[in-house]
């Protein structure tokens, strides 16, 4: 690094170095896909409708998230973490938190990132970071904070573009089955809710057409770090999240999806950990018995 920095600018690099450099330049890190998608959602929302409370609040959320991730990652994981996760957390907070004040944005990002390093079971964090931060604020600071639940505009195209773009991206990341299960379950449960409440089906489906759900579906319930490992398990959990959401909605919780994931997500992970360790114990016991 030092020798490159001290080399004359006009001096041509060696062919090997040039090839490495080109590979470095053009190699695409798939971890950038989700950040690019969420940035796309942000830009479409902001350009078409002005979705953000303000640029400065969103920047505050992003910067807080990234700085804290760097510091905590360095301290506790002994390495510089990739910023993609913190960027997504920060931008999610910037979009989803609605408050005229600045402090909730910084606090929510800080809570989200810190939760990854504090609430851990068997070296894994069990809460989706931004969902955790938002839930805590909605629980403890309703006097100053609301969630994004009433935004998005009158034009169907930005929404359609994001759904298509998001679906393709999530498909490539091999997690589309989670989104599809959740959306299908939500639609079925909308019908159930409609039958129970007597409200129109479209009234029950309405929330799904807002941007909050796009972030929720593409970034929260699919988060690789806080979802169970098997494809079948992921499908079951997505269904259970939608089910829990329906129960919360029938009890008129405005932020039912956040709370549903807050409850079901960690419970599913803990169950999987317990199941795996039980299986491991059983296998170990069988092996011992075979050995005996």
């Amino acid at each position: 690094m030092k020798s490159v920095a001290s080399a004359p600018i006009s001096q041509p690099a060696s062919p090997v170095a040039e090839e490495k450099s080109a590979r470095w330049r053009f190699r695409y890190d798939p971890r950038f896909t989700p950040p690019l998608l969420i940035t796309c959602i942000l830009l479409v929302g902001q350009i078409t409708f002005g979705i953000l409370e303000s640029y400065s609040r969103t920047v505050l959320a992003i910067v807080t998230g990234i700085v804290l991730e760097m510091v905590l990652g360095r301290m506790f994981a002994k390495k510089w973490p990739h910023i993609a996760s913190a960027y997504i957390t920060g931008i999610s907070v910037g979009i989803l938190v609605r408050s005229p004040a600045f402090w909730p944005y910084a606090l929510c990002s800080a809570l989200s990132i810190t939760s990854k390093y504090v609430i851990r079971v068997k070296r894994r964090h069990i809460f989706n970071p931004s969902n955790f931060g938002i839930c805590v604020l909605l629980f403890l600071a309703p006097f100053a904070v609301a969630g994004l639940s009433i935004q998005w505009g009158n034009n169907v195209w930005p929404m359609a573009v994001i759904w298509m773009l998001g679906s393709v991206t999530i498909w490539r990341l091999k997690r589309f089955h989670i989104c599809a299960t959740y959306v299908a379950s939500f639609l079925v449960f909308s019908l159930v809710r409609s039958l129970i409440t007597g409200h129109t089906f479209w009234a029950e489906v309405a929330p799904l057409t807002g941007p909050m759900y796009q972030l929720y579906i593409f970034f929260m319930i699919t988060d690789p770090k806080t979802t169970v490992s098997t494809r079948r398990g992921q499908i079951i959990v997505a269904f259970l999240v939608a089910l829990a959401e329906m129960i919360l909605r029938l009890n008129e919780f405005v932020y039912a999806p956040f709370y549903a994931l807050f409850i079901v997500g960690p419970a599913a992970l803990l169950f999987e950990m317990w199941w795996k360790s039980r299986q491991a114990s059983t296998q170990e016991l069988s092996a011992q018995q075979r050995g005996a």
């Binding site: 809570l111 805590v136 009433i150 169907v156 489906v205 309405a206 919780f253």
Partner: protein, 601 residues
Amino acid sequence: MGMMQGRIPRILLTIFFIGLIAVPVVLKRYYRPGTAGKAVLDAQSAIDRYGFHLEEVAKTCGIDFTHQAPHLDQKLDHIMPQVASMGAAVSVVDFDRDGWYDLYVTNSGEGSHNCLYRNLGNGQFKDVAPEMGIADMNRAETGVTMGAVWGDYDNDGYEDLFINKWGRPELFHNDGGRGFTRVTDKAGLPAWLNANTAIWFDYDRDGLLDLFVGGYYAENVDLWHLSTTKIMPESFEYAQNGGRKYLFHNLGNGQFEEVAEQLGIVSRRWSLAAVAADLRGTGYPDLFIANDYGVSELFVNDGGKRFREVGKATGVGFAPKSGMSAAAGDVLNQGQFAIYVTNISEEGVLIQGNNLWVPNTGATADNIKYENLARDMGVELGGWSFGMQFGDLNNDGNLDLYVANGYVSADRGTSYWYDYSKIAGGNSSIISDAANWPPMGSRSLSGYQQKRLWINDGAGHFTDVAQVVGASDTYDGRSVALVDLWNRGVLDVVVANQKGPLLIYKNTVSPANQWIDFELEGTASNRDAIGAQVRLFWNGQQQVQEVLGGSGFCAENQRRLHFGLGKTPHIEKAVIRWPSGKTQTIETLEAGKVLKLKEPQ
């Protein structure tokens, strides 16, 4: 040792994490900006501490008025409480020029009557609307009243009455204070519109009052005979399918010419309030519109020839909220108007916060920018805020702020908010159809809310004293007007409540705090002097006020300009800028007087 190294940072991290969680808990417990408390003080204690006290006296004054809401098309039955949620309004006028301010109070139930409470000067009021011919305004065939504004459009010395409705708007000529003649047809007003805001102003300074009317529902919607249920906003915060805007240019012969589009006022946002004042020091009134379901709009006036919308450029049109009312006031005594806009704040669901748009220091006509200082100055969180007005309620020399809150107070302990937020997040095709809105039943929606009466300390901070000084009602407040009903040199507060009583809060102010009033009469300018500015200099400070033809939500204050002066004032001068452009300076001024001024020829 290595284990210890790992454990201590983890303990510190856990403490840090718990600290983060504790932040909102601590903030909630200890950070209550701008609230004086809930203890109700007796009158003398309130006067001693805050300089004034309010007492509700409507019934003892002979006013027993309860607003009735309309019953619209049965297709809207399931959400009727929230659709038929406006129409309680009050406007101040001295219609018979007897020197005592009267009140015109609107009703909205089909068959209900509007009332003109004549001030008898002895503390009593008498409804004279039926005999004056301006009572029977509310019928399903012609629509119901949403508000009313007074302005002497023909400069004959008597203020005429414009009634904005969901239905056929009406203009009544004041026949010398003895009665009213309907002149709607001659004036050339539209056959039907659904308007919640109207203001008089002389946008081209030709000496004739013009009229701005802002539509809410689209003008082709007859709310009693719906052909479709797709009448609702297409978005909660980006809707542009509301009513059109009208600017009626006064031709001087009793007729008006509609020129909104021609002059650049083109918008279909859902307007609920407007205020026109010279915000940029050009001499021409600019037009600020507070819109529900979207951003506010600021139309600056280019020399009376054209309006330009500069909401985004000036900062006021960026974040979409639910604008309910708008008023202008020099809150910092720096000779510039700030604009206050009320919005919705409901704990745990929607925290929009009200806006206090304060202009940049040294702003000129071309570079004016506004910054929202509502949070910094302590006037952000009201509730579901509707009408409001600026006025110096304790005569201490600083403009205070009265804000009415509360939307639908039905069954206590119930809330429609969950269903409301469910549909509000939907795509336009869902939200715009009333048939998709969940039934409201008898549930409340931000009901039974307390009011805010923020007193201004003059140093950039407001404190809510509503409860302690006596403004303790929890009706669904709509229109607020400030007026000196007893000619005592104080501002009383009149509040019209939706499906509730008209309240008159009689104000008792510490006699130590002094005042001066200006009553202006235009000659070359419009006779009401709407648009005239008085810049008062005293004790090394200044305050500017402007005669307005309507402000707040569906309201009009007294025409007279009231300045509180505080204790031992030394008044240096008053500079009056008439709408015609003439400037007049008066240096011999005495506190405790109403100065009646006629525009110099």
